[in-house]
């Protein structure tokens, strides 16, 4: 057992031990796919400039970030049914100074993000001791309380009809499109970094077993608050953008209905994979709005049917299905399973235990 010494001896400067551990294949295919999608989205306004489709895509960008924010919070084991309200906090924190103090949107939008972060972290503190079902119940109630307090603000918040007259950022929808697109890219990049770095590993560790996590120095409360703060920052950011885009902050956009919509996107796409929420938005928002607009009234039935199919057959959502198929194909080709993930990545995550 003399090897123990080598393992436990202070390692000196890690830089000295430079020899790289087994080189792993970078996922060029994944990076390529993301790149192609980004280029297509960046060029799309040339084709659909000013049309309704553009509006749909702006909406989709907002919901991609907000649902991914939900998922970022969920990797630490917190199923946050107040996500719509966090978005609302961002929206109102931007709308109120914009309407009553005539602040510039370039100030109020970041302000919305900060407000959502602050509110989120304050709330996360007491909620960090609730788990799974009780956390979900608590946050569902919390979302109601937040929206309740906002609408109780009298004339300042415009009560239940909402606060209108939020000054627009641009007169041209294409500009909105690019701003939303940019915000989405930056937010997604940040959330990707968050999840696939050591921070994300901590979150996933806390989600799997808070006791084991604590025994190796990963504090549950600290990390859960961090997850909420991080997730709600981008939620608030896009919430603030959304209200400037719409020109109005109305409580109905941020209530339980909105939250359930977000949860549907995430669950249909796949709660356990980073791209799940984006795929969910694509399937439940973009495709129906592009191709099935005449079916508007029946759409909830289709959504419900998709949810049921997923619940019964694909608990990991559509992305889970894609991975399954990919694995099969790779196995057929005789390469034995998916290629190794990039450095430091941890894919397996299970919110709640």
């Amino acid at each position: 057992m003399s090897e123990v010494k080598a393992v436990l001896a202070p390692g000196g400067d890690p830089a000295d031990r430079g020899e790289a551990s087994r080189a792993k294949p970078r996922r060029w295919s994944g990076i390529g796919a993301v790149g192609v999608v980004m280029i297509v989205l960046a060029l799309l306004p040339l084709a659909i400039s000013g049309s309704y489709y553009m509006h749909v895509l702006i909406l989709a960008f907002v919901y991609v970030v907000v649902s991914s924010g939900f998922r970022t919070i969920s990797i630490s084991g917190q199923f946050n049914i107040a996500q719509g309200a966090f978005m609302g906090v961002g929206a109102y924190a931007a709308a109120i100074p914009a309407v009553w103090l005539h602040w510039s949107p370039w100030v109020t939008i970041p302000l919305g993000a900060v407000a959502a972060t602050v509110v989120g972290s304050i709330i996360a503190y007491p909620f960090a001791r609730l788990r799974t079902v009780y956390y979900a119940m608590g946050t569902l109630f919390l979302g109601y309380v937040i929206m309740n307090l906002i609408t109780a603000g009298g004339k300042t918040t415009g009560m239940s009809t909402g606060l209108g007259g939020v000054q627009p950022l641009f007169s041209n929808r294409t500009h909105y499109y690019y701003l939303a697109f940019g915000l989405m890219v930056v937010s997604m990049a940040c959330m990707y970094r968050f999840e696939f770095s050591r921070i994300g590993v901590r979150m996933k560790a806390v989600a799997q077993s808070h006791q084991v996590a604590a025994s190796v120095g990963i504090g549950e409360r600290r990390n859960r608050i961090l997850a909420v703060a991080f997730g709600s920052f981008f939620t608030g950011l896009l919430g603030a953008f959304y209200c400037h885009y719409q020109g109005v902050a109305s409580p109905s956009s941020y209530g339980l209905g909105a939250t359930l919509l977000i949860i549907m996107y995430v669950l249909v796409g796949g709660l356990n994979s980073f791209w799940g929420p984006s795929v969910g938005v694509l399937i439940l928002l973009v495709i129906p709005e592009f191709y099935f607009r005449d079916l508007k009234g029946d759409l909830p039935y289709v959504t419900a049917a998709i949810l049921l199919i997923i619940a019964f057959t694909l608990p990991d959502g559509i992305v889970g299905l894609v991975n399954l198929v990919k694995n099969r194909i790779v196995k057929r080709l005789g390469r034995g399973g998916l290629p190794q993930q990039p450095e430091g990545e941890v894919r397996a995550d299970a919110p709640g235990d």
């Binding site: 057992m1 390692g11 077993s209 006791q211 084991v212 025994s215 120095g217 397996a348």
Partner: protein, 253 residues
Amino acid sequence: MLLEIKGLTKRFGGLKAVGDFDIHVDEGEIVGLIGPNGAGKSTVFNLITGVLPVTSGTNMFRDRDITRSQPDQVAALGIGRTFQLNPLFPEFTVLQNVTSSFQLHPCSSLFDIFFGTPKYRRNERFIREKAHEILSLVGLSKEANDLARNLAHGHQKMLGVARALATKPTLLLLDEPLAGMNPSEIQYSLDAIRGMRDNGITVLIVEHNMQILSLCDRVVVISFGEKICEGLPSEVRANSEVISAYFGADYVC
């Protein structure tokens, strides 16, 4: 003195789980805390590590009061521990279980982690290497890329030890390391524990398997939450109170 516990008491409602319990551990020792099932051994561990709040008494670690510390703070001070049941992150691979446990040394700041600075990458590379070393030490190299939940029971326990080692503890608390192991695994574990001590880790073991006695420098026997005797393994073996606690009073001649 590394760990010094005085007058430790824990009540659950009216029930006294641990009463006025004293134990101290010196640097470089292997101390056994033995006792029959339900004697309060694991409760003592949970009280030391802050998992359960202490009713009264003081826990000192390296002359620092850790009585009211949270579990993660206790771990950060250098007390590693294993668990009797489910000692791992089931959805991580074996390797990830160990790398994720390197939270304390070397430490990257949130800034470094988030922006993936060269320092962070260096640290991560270093951690992975160390993790592989630890895994080969506990005999889990082959399983490094398996999901932890698919491991056999004995391997899960060893992984628990590997995780605890990854925190680079000064004091290691082992909670029933031999429970559910077969004889060859037991022998391997005993060797491994001795190896840890030889390399400067102080070990406190909770166990009800008497085979652990051969390993210990000193043994404390607990029954119904109270210390009934303390001494060298040979003394404890001969102590009639211990025998009666284990086998009932009738067996004492």
